[in-house]
């Protein structure tokens, strides 16, 4: 019951189709529900039969959380809800809810209409799926049910990207989705408070990269484009319609303005204009600078960047085109690529990560001859550039996040096994934390130490404070609290014994022992008593000793010297059964005086 189980169905030692099952305190949560862009068969979706062999997952999953709108994080959602069958709650942020259906529809069209894929979800499926979505705002604490609480934090990866903190009882997990620890041109940096989760499930795309400064990369990017257009070449920048595209547009827009360039810059049609509108409306999710200036000038109104028309592909002369999708696996970007690839004057800049199996991945690996359906070959003579603009946290960023939230364990997903291994060693060494990296289908069981929440009666606490205030101050001394823990139904409360008996409705039975001693000590009885107090003070440290006239009391132990001036004094030592050890110890002390 105290174990937390994590099973990646996707993104385990891999990038693509992120889907992680989390089981904690009797609750099952699905983190992301993505598809793999590199596969065209059933491997593109996570293996949902793992959850429920024969369909509907309602009884097995308490909620689904989607971190951001990238398809490798939400691409399988309509399939999971509408085809496989799940009607429980789905949580995501407002921008994700706004943008995800557009990307899903876009991808569906590519898959079904261009590739003729059947066994895919329909437009209606996407709409029905989105109706089940519950939106969350940052930092809002959402009670999924009476035990399961979730809370979103800013992740900075794309518009609306969020990390999620998930709590059941006193156990908690943070799932980062994809995140970025350095603010970029349009988004802020990811942030989380010291929430000390039991597990931090972190992406690790750039587990081994410590990227050079952002400025350098930007300068490099602009220099390459400038060189290419100067020699009359065409530049193709495959991007996803939302996210990186907007950042690069802002970059190019300002550069064009500063350098007074006239070469046309185009933006793939349709999606993109709409996309900019989303950015205008969700300005609160962008970075400080854009938010501050948006009243005067909205950064997403571009002057130099115009919509692209397919007829421009064969236009002579230089141009720069942003086209989707970003991994060159279908659509307009692939179409343009096929046309421009054979010319060595041209250039393609891949600004992001490409999954295995896509054309983007192939050309980045230096493949110069690419085969398409129908035994069609394209020679890649154009210059192929890779720019790491993908807004993921690098190794430094991941370490920084660990430092921020102070997890007890770290679990890596969304990265390549070899790189993860390197980061795992680093985390274990630097933070002395256990670090896990399960493969797909492999379950990680993480034992967790948890503190049990209880109530303490204020009377007991005040009593303790009073006692410890009576003693001379000593910061090293442990404060001791003692009482009776009463558990009733699910609540537990620590009280003093009398309160506890009253609460439980039982009568205490007191057993008291009194022993009588004779001490040889001439002089007045008060003097004897004072001597005994001194003795007890030295032999019993850190216990408050009360002394009045002839009576000394410590806890329930009472020592009384009989008021007589005889040489032999009668001393009574009395204690309650529960203080047997202390009582007999004091008796020993007193007897040692007698001898």
């Amino acid at each position: 019951m105290l174990d937390i189980k994590v099973t990646p169905l996707g993104a385990g030692q891999d990038v693509g189709r992120s889907c992680i099952l989390l089981s904690m305190g009797g609750k099952n949560i699905m983190l992301d529900c993505g598809m793999h862009m590199g596969f065209n068969d059933e491997r593109r979706f996570p293996d949902f039969s793992y959850i429920a062999p024969d369909g509907p997952a309602n009884n097995y999953i308490d909620c689904v959380i989607i971190s951001h709108f990238h398809l490798d994080h939400c691409g399988a959602l309509p399939y999971f809800t509408e085809v496989f069958g799940y009607s429980g709650p789905i949580y995501m942020t407002h921008p994700t809810k706004a943008i995800a259906p557009i990307l899903l529809e876009d991808m569906r069209k590519v898959a079904v209409e261009k590739k003729g894929d059947s066994n895919f979800f329909t437009s209606q499926n996407i709409k029905d799926c989105m109706k089940k979505v519950i939106t969350v705002t940052l930092h809002q604490s959402v009670m999924v049910d009476s035990k399961l609480e979730i809370k979103a934090y800013y992740a900075g990866h794309v518009l609306g990207a969020a990390m999620f903190w998930i709590r059941v009882g006193s156990q908690s997990v943070v799932y980062t989705g994809d995140y970025n620890m350095t603010p970029d041109r349009h988004l802020g940096a990811a942030w989380i408070d010291k929430c000390r989760p039991n597990i931090l499930i972190s992406e690790s795309t750039y587990a081994t990269t410590i990227r050079d400064s952002k400025r350098c990369r930007e300068r490099d990017f602009l220099k390459k484009i400038h060189e290419c257009i100067d020699r009359g070449g065409k530049v193709l920048i495959p991007v996803f319609a939302l996210g990186r595209a907007q950042e690069l547009c802002i970059l190019l827009e300002t550069y064009w303005e500063r350098m007074n360039l006239k070469v046309p810059v185009y933006f793939g049609t349709g999606l993109t204009e709409k996309a900019n509108n989303y950015y205008k409306m969700f300005i609160t999710w962008t970075n400080q600078k854009i938010r501050k200036t948006f009243v005067q000038r909205n950064m997403f109104d571009f002057k130099h960047i115009k919509p692209f028309d397919k007829s421009y592909i064969d236009n002579p002369g230089a141009m720069v085109v942003f086209a989707s999708p970003g991994m060159l696996h279908a659509g307009l970007s692939l179409h343009i690529f096929k046309k421009w690839a054979p010319n060595e004057n041209n250039m393609v800049i891949m600004p992001g990560f490409c999954v295995v199996g896509t054309v983007g991945h192939k050309i980045l690996n230096g493949i110069k001859r690419i085969e398409f359906e129908g035994r069609q070959f394209v020679e890649v003579k154009m210059s192929v550039q890779y720019m790491s603009f993908s807004a993921h946290a690098d190794a430094k960023g991941i370490m920084q996040l660990i430092q921020y939230c102070e997890p007890k364990n770290v679990l890596l997903v969304h990265g390549e096994a070899a790189k993860m291994e390197f980061l795992k060693t680093k985390i274990e060494k630097e933070f002395d934390l256990k670090c896990y990296m399960p493969a797909n289908g492999e379950t990680c069981i993480i034992k967790s130490d948890i503190n049990i929440p209880v109530s303490v009666s204020l009377r007991l606490l005040k009593e303790e404070a009073k006692k410890s205030n009576m003693l001379p101050p000593d910061p090293k001394r442990q404060r001791i609290i003692h009482g009776v823990l009463v558990s009733r139904d699910v609540s537990m409360c620590l009280m003093d014994v009398d309160e506890a008996c009253k609460e439980a409705g039982i009568n205490r039975h007191t057993i008291r022992f009194t022993s009588t001693l004779r001490l040889e000590d001439p002089g007045p009885a008060t003097k004897t008593a004072e001597k005994l107090v001194q003795l007890m003070n030295t032999r019993l440290k850190d216990l408050p000793i009360l002394f009045t006239d002839f009576t000394i009391s410590v806890e329930s132990v009472i020592v009384k010297v009989e008021a007589s001036d005889d040489d032999q004094k009668t001393v009574y030592v009395s204690w309650d059964n529960q203080d047997e050890e202390l009582g007999s110890h004091i008796l020993e002390i007193l007897k040692s005086v007698g001898n």
Binding site: M281, V454, Q478, C493, T538, L543, Q578
Partner: protein
């Protein structure tokens, strides 16, 4: 728990709440009614205002007073920059305030007065719209007053209150009135605000959790829940159950609070906002139809968005789409822009528009199409070219004492075709107009106050079921404007505590419990004893770690404090481990006894073990057993009186008195304990313990 009330206006509330050692300020509303006593500040010198006669007291002429006070149609005004009455601080030092919670942008205008120059070092919390729109309100206020600097400040009149005519003579503590803050103070003050989202649990010094929940009144408006885990205080400020543009009110979070503090009910309980809105649209249409202009004094955000939407729709429907609407405010552009990026704070209908994607408010479209034009001031470039009559002008300030509205009243006041429509409920409209009398333009009063009315408030209280209801005294009497409406009061069966300005209340909230956590290693050692079905007890001793107002109870670090084979073994082996003196502070009882013990059985048991001379005495609350260490049979019992005085006053008491006169005490003790333990284990009596 204490509540200090610093404001006399339930709609501009400001109170201090002390709870669990933390001092909260709930809202910091600024009472602006004082500005009505001042002359308006026109952009250009107004001959009419300049020529108003000085006011001369009846008894003696005072040239100083005459300079400061001007008379207009029987009312006396102070000729000085307007002054405000900030929350009073005689009983509370603002530097002691830990946290300020702001409910909505209308309740934060005193913030710079409180946080700047007072030594305040706490935190301020508000939602993002509250902070951004609040900034607009503060900027507009400062801008409006700073644009029209007055050469001199009047203060002499404050010494002669007793001879002044009403309402000036009834002014509340005019010596404490202050001139408006400057932008430096505004910026510093706003920089202190920490932004929160709805339902975000804020940890306040580890002692309390504070949460803002939607109140449905305006963009970003919130009520607050202060929770100690065991006690809950709900603070309800401006709230609305009507459907307008903001997110609906969240009532669930306010339920079952121990204390509910309720303020900010409607200021116009006799007016229905919907019919007022209808009347406004009709009045505008009929005025414009005959060529008249309409002036609607307003704040830069809030109901004005609904007015744009409804009015443009109404004008379209009556074929007057070409009538221009002007929105004039130093922050008009910001207000229009921000309203359309706060989708997450809007009603579902408006929110869903961004998924299309379209702007949530139609005024974005209206300003793109040129129907609604916005300017910072009337003298801003472009206004004179765009100005066409007839038109509708929305501008501030609703008090008509400063801002562009002053100019429009002066400009349009003499023409009977024009109309001024009052919608903001903060100022009595006749008072607002008094320095402009005699006035020819039509005056229409259509107050639109969407805050809870009394019927809605009573329904809310019934649903929330608070332990105690705390509210302004005036809510228990019918309002001054409608003294014969006994239905316009808060009527509840809950216990009620009322307050008025300067009151200090003790709220009935007795804290009994505190949250803590027990470490796993300690819980693993506990073996609860079920004493009744469903109720288990276990004696527990732990190391109390306190930090950041949180308690954790851990295992005591001296791990070998108790031998695993404890009580019985210790007795029989007769050997004790040597302990260091400190250890004894950590040894606490490991068990308590309850139930009853059969005394005869006990006596029999010890006599089997060789103690045969036990004497049983029936005490007041149980038995006293006297043992005279058996081996030597030396009598000499302790007197019964002395024993009784030691015995605890409790039922079911067994008192064993062992008299040791020959060092046999220890052996006797061991025997007695052994017997007791055997009996206890046989369950004639029970223990709850942790070994």
């Amino acid at each position: 728990m204490k509540l200090y009330c610093l404001s006399g206006d339930p709609n501009k509330p400001c109170s201090i709440l002390q709870f669990k050692g933390i001092t909260f300020m709930l809202d910091c509303g600024l009472s602006s009614l004082s500005v009505l006593n001042f002359l308006p500040l026109p952009f250009v010198r107004s001959a009419r205002l300049d020529n108003l006669p000085g006011w001369v007291p009846r008894d003696a002429a005072d040239p100083e007073l005459e300079k400061e006070l001007k008379e207009c149609c029987g009312r006396v005004f102070v000729d000085s920059p307007p002054e405000f009455l900030p929350p009073q601080s005689k009983v509370v030092d603002f530097s002691q305030v830990d946290v300020i919670l702001i409910s909505n942008y209308l309740c934060m205008l005193a913030l710079p007065f409180i946080t700047e120059g007072t030594g305040f070092a706490g935190k301020v919390y508000a939602t993002e719209p509250t902070m951004q729109i609040g900034r607009m309100f503060l900027e507009e206020l400062v801008d409006n007053i700073e644009q029209m600097p007055k050469a001199s400040t009047a203060s002499h009149w404050k010494e002669f209150l007793h001879i002044l005519p009403p309402p000036l003579c009834d002014s509340h503590r005019p010596r404490t009135w202050k001139q408006i803050y400057n932008m430096t103070a505004v910026n510093k003050s706003l920089a202190r605000i920490g932004m929160v989202g709805y339902n975000q649990k804020l940890d306040v010094y580890g002692a309390l959790a504070v949460m803002a929940v939607s109140s449905g009144y305006c963009l970003g408006s919130s009520n607050w829940v202060i929770d100690s885990m065991y006690e809950k205080v709900a603070y309800v400020s401006g709230s609305s159950t009507l459907t307008t543009h903001p997110r609906p009110m969240d009532q669930a979070a306010l339920k079952n609070a121990n204390v509910l503090i309720l303020t900010g009910l409607t200021q116009t309980p006799t007016a229905n906002p919907d019919s007022m809105l209808g009347e406004l649209c009709m009045t505008v249409a009929s005025t414009v139809r005959v060529g008249g202009n309409v002036l609607i004094p307003c704040y830069p955000s809030g109901v004005v968005y609904d007015l744009f939407e409804c009015l443009s729709g109404h004008l379209d429907s009556v074929g007057m789409s070409t009538v221009p609407m002007f929105f004039i405010s130093p922050v008009a552009d910001t207000s229009l822009a921000y309203s359309n990026i706060f989708a997450e704070w809007l009603s579902t209908v408006k929110q869903n528009k961004v998924y299309l994607p379209e702007e949530p408010f139609p005024h974005a479209l209206l300003s793109r199409s040129g129907r609604l034009k916005h300017f910072k001031h009337i003298y801003t470039e472009g206004f004179s070219t765009d100005y066409r009559q007839p038109c509708v002008v929305f501008c501030g300030h609703p008090s008509l004492r400063f801002g562009d509205a002053v100019h429009f009243v002066e400009l349009w006041g003499s023409n009977t075709l024009n109309t001024i429509i009052f919608t903001e409920p903060d100022f009595p409209y006749l008072e607002a107009l008094s320095p402009y009398q005699p006035l020819m333009m039509k005056t229409v009063h259509c107050p639109i106050d969407t805050s809870l009315n009394f019927t809605q408030a009573n329904k809310l209280i019934r649903e929330l079921k608070p332990g105690t209801l705390v509210l302004p005294e005036c809510y228990l009497q019918p309002p001054v404007i409608a003294p014969h409406r006994p239905d316009l009061v808060v009527d509840t069966d809950r216990p009620v505590i009322v307050f008025k300005r300067d009151d200090v209340l003790s709220l009935p909230l007795k804290r009994k419990l505190s949250p803590a956590e027990i470490s796993t290693s300690l819980t693993e050692k506990l073996h609860p004893n079920e004493v009744r079905s469903g109720v288990s007890l276990v004696t527990m001793t732990g190391h109390l770690v306190a930090g950041d107002n949180k308690f954790t109870i851990k295992d005591i670090s001296v791990s070998d404090l108790r031998d695993p084979d404890s009580t019985a073994a210790r007795g029989s082996s007769g050997k004790k481990r040597l302990r260091v003196a400190e250890d004894f502070a950590k040894i606490k009882p490991d068990s308590y006894t309850w139930g009853s013990l059969n005394v005869e059985e006990f006596i029999q048991k010890i006599s089997e073990e060789g103690i045969t001379d036990a004497k049983v005495e029936k005490g007041t609350s149980g038995y006293i057993i006297h043992l005279f260490c058996t081996l030597e049979h030396k009598p000499g019992a302790v007197g019964a009186n002395e024993v009784a005085q030691w015995s605890m006053e409790m039922h079911n008491t067994l008192h064993v008195v062992i008299n040791d006169f020959n060092s046999q005490l220890y052996v006797a003790q061991v025997i007695v304990r052994m017997c007791l333990f055997t009996l206890l284990s046989a369950c004639n009596i029970c223990l709850f313990f942790h070994l």
